[in-house]
């Protein structure tokens, strides 16, 4: 197996596709996710924009939606993401036309399956994200999603909360979306910044916890269902699932 190591960016990935396409033994992966075994060869891929652009152009010729689909797929943090995308691209270029319907092809099914998981998580967080408010009316929501979905979420909240400045903070990737109520940008989260909730925030949060407790029908317990729909790894930032006061005093 020859490992093509990318820098983790999408340009890096498409450059690797360019280099690895003819190699039947190729395995494309980000540097950060590599798992080697005996006898493997390593190729460090140089990110070259022109190469990436050529690959992109070719893919668009095969399927106008290909780049959108792949951009969702490349947000996945699961093992083998780049390789799955690579195999999907091979299938796509081999056929020369859209392959999305070829569900019996393992490469296609696997790629679509991964895309579905990223989209599902993004959908889940439109519900599971929790904002806290400070005295200036700014909203702040920390979360740590499995996949890199921050930029998928922001437009949703911008539509809902026009005119309200908000911050959404991906704790895992140290990325933060800053929205002033009209436009948004992404920044690297700053270690020293603090977010102090307003006194009212705690009261509303308290009411929410009470509401959550009392709306449960205790005569019909079904915890398994709850955990299935709302996995425990997401509970950290849900005030209703946290006994201690979850209002973050300082964020990192």
């Amino acid at each position: 197996m020859t490992y093509y190591l990318t820098d983790g960016t999408s340009d890096g990935f498409y450059s690797a596709v360019f280099d690895a396409y003819a190699d039947k033994e190729a395995f494309v992966t980000a540097k950060s996710r590599i798992q080697l075994s005996f006898g493997d060869r390593l190729v460090s891929v140089e990110t070259i924009e022109e190469k990436a652009e050529r690959v992109r152009k070719k893919l668009t010729l095969c399927d106008v939606h290909a780049l959108d689909d792949l951009s969702i797929l490349l947000r996945s943090s699961e093992d083998g993401t780049e390789q799955a995308a690579f195999l999907y691209i091979r299938e796509l270029v081999h056929r020369g036309r859209p392959v999305k319907g070829r569900l019996a092809e393992p490469a296609v099914f696997d790629a679509l399956d991964r895309i579905a998981r990223v989209k599902e998580e993004a959908h889940r967080f439109t519900g599971f994200l929790r904002f806290t408010e400070n005295s200036d009316g700014v909203l702040y929501a920390p979360f740590s999603p499995d996949h890199d979905i921050l930029s998928l979420l922001v437009p949703h909240f911008l539509k809902r909360l026009p005119g309200i400045p908000f911050l959404i903070h991906d704790k895992k990737r140290h990325k933060i979306a800053v929205c002033d109520g009209k436009t948004y940008t992404f920044a690297v989260a700053c270690d020293s910044a603090t977010f102090v909730p307003s006194p009212e925030q705690e009261e509303w949060e308290n009411l929410w916890k009470k509401y959550y407790r009392h709306v449960n029908v205790a005569l019909r317990p079904h915890e398994k269902q709850m955990r299935g729909s709302m996995p425990v790894r997401y509970w950290k930032y849900l005030p209703e699932k946290n006994q201690r006061n979850s209002v973050p005093k300082i964020f990192k």
Binding site: G127, L129, E133, Y212, R220, K224, L238
Partner: protein, 427 residues
Amino acid sequence: MKVCRSGGERMIDEFRLRILTESAKYDVSCSSSGSARSNTKNGLGNASFHGICHSFTPDGRCVSLLKILLTNDCVYHCRYCPNRAGEDVSRAIATPDEICELTVAFYKRNYIEGLFLSSAVYLTPDTTMDLLLLTVKKLRTEYAFNGYIHLKGIPHADPALVREAAKYADRMSYNVELPSEASLKLLAPQKTKESLLLPMRTLREETKANREDRSRRKARILPAGQTTQMIVGASPETDGQIMRLSEALYRKMGLKRVYYSAYLPVVRDSLLPDRGAGLLREHRLYQADWLLRFYGFTAEEIAPLDENLPEEYDPKCAWALRNPDFFPVEINRADLEALLRVPGIGNKGAYRILRARKYGNLSFEDLKKMRVVLKRAKHFITCCGKFYGAKDENQIKTLLALQDSGTEQLTFFGDAESGMSVLTGQL
């Protein structure tokens, strides 16, 4: 026992929130789907067509809407209801502003998708409906809230009030409460069949006219339609009867959903059974309900009039076992309707098959690769003429039967995908 609190004047106190929540929680409906209301300029919120779940409680249900009563102070005496008149429970009432403030504050923090406002019949039906109308109107206009609103209709209220309220809500519901007129008379004497079905019909006609009127850019009335709910197991109706009622409600009233709630003995009453109805029965009813709405089945096919749905098989499986002539279905040639009638193949599976077979014949292995669920389906399909199931009909029956309905009953909701959508009401 009243708790005084600091904080905003319009912030509801914990004590009343508890009473009004506990009284509202038995309403099953929770879905926030069906409406794509967009935000207004400088308004707050919008509705997501597919609905969004914001949390899940330990009973496995989702929290999508802030489900709350305006008041639980009731003049009606419905025997199954914990808030019936004369019952010794704490009563509370919230002001429209308190409800609005709470909704907006929760919505802004992304705790909820919108409001599900219901109420006990306070003083008179008209007073109550008036208060409900005032609240939703205020929420939409003064508070510029464009999130989802599900509003409960009050029986016997002035139709003019109901029509007015419909302009502000995304969805309205009148609960038929029980599956027959006789049971309704017995257990909810102040509610009559007409008081529930007439407003349903009024709203149906109103929305129909509204949809047809495309000439001007009019605001849509009840974009998410109407739903209803009934208690199962508190009265003697069979599943066959219930399915026929649901079918009629879907066809004649154009309802989006009928919710079933297994009877829970929350209050004691001489006319009510001491034991609750099983969750498995409720689950089977929901499965049958799905067959009505998405799989092209009729109530007639699902269950004979005087029979309950079988416990050991799901309703589609039971139908398949009764109709062996229909099978096997050839995966590569059958149309969508036939595919949907195969036990174990749902909308997702059928859709995958339809998409993939455009490119070539599908083998049994291909179906496996596409993760079409074959545990049940393999006994009812052929792939390129080949059959992979058990040969003997009795063997199939044993293989498909629910292993042990006694223990399964508790965990049954957990594994099935359909179980989740049943509880969350999302689709």
